[in-house]
């Protein structure tokens, strides 16, 4: 196993650990904006995992998933915040 594939496996493992820790904050977050920021970090983590998986397989089509995810993560958090501002009024 070369140093490069070891780096990729290490990066994948620590990003998975990050996902677990974000899930813990998503579960125990005391307020709704905490959960919205945890959702933002979910999307960023998953874009990083998609990039590392693209480097694993060498298939260049997977990076389009990252573009779409970066679009939808922004839309999701903005619409959650808009709904929260509307509903408390």
């Amino acid at each position: 196993m070369s140093l490069f594939s070891f780096t990729l496996i290490f990066a994948m493992a620590s990003l998975s650990l990050c996902l677990v820790m974000t899930g813990i904050r998503f579960a125990i977050g005391p307020t709704l904006p905490d959960r919205i920021t945890a959702f933002d970090l979910f999307v960023a983590n998953i874009i990083g995992m998609v990039a590392i998986y693209t480097e694993f397989t060498g298939n260049e089509d997977f990076i389009d998933v990252g573009i779409i995810l970066s679009l939808f993560g922004f839309l999701g958090s903005i619409s959650f915040a808009y709904y929260l501002m509307k509903s408390t009024r």
Binding site: T7, F10, S14, T22, I52, L71, F74, R89
Partner: protein, 133 residues
Amino acid sequence: MLDNINFLLIREIVSSVLIIIGVVFMTISTIGLLRFPDFYIRMSAITKGATLGLGLILTGMGIYFNEPDMFLKVMLIIGFTFLTSPVAAHVIGRTAVRNKIPFWERTNLEEFKDYLHKEHSAHRDHERDNKQV
């Protein structure tokens, strides 16, 4: 002279270093999300650390593939993320101030008190106007 250099090895090393730095940034910001005491401090940790880590990981991937269309897609993702992450953080933070999410007790709110008072009183005026209509 240039024939003796193994360019694939150089690309792999540069990509490995960038990916490891990005993953370390992301791990640190996630630990910050789990351990910081306040919503606003947590949101600041996420917005800076995770965005920089994501940009470093994607740059490492673009250097490894070494193709123009891949570089274009990577620059698209990085530009969009760097543009929209502060905007989303600003909107969520403003919503949290409106909804009176509590601050940490050791936060210095002296210069922020006027804005908080104005924001909350304006909010109340707005509610009263809605009721009259």
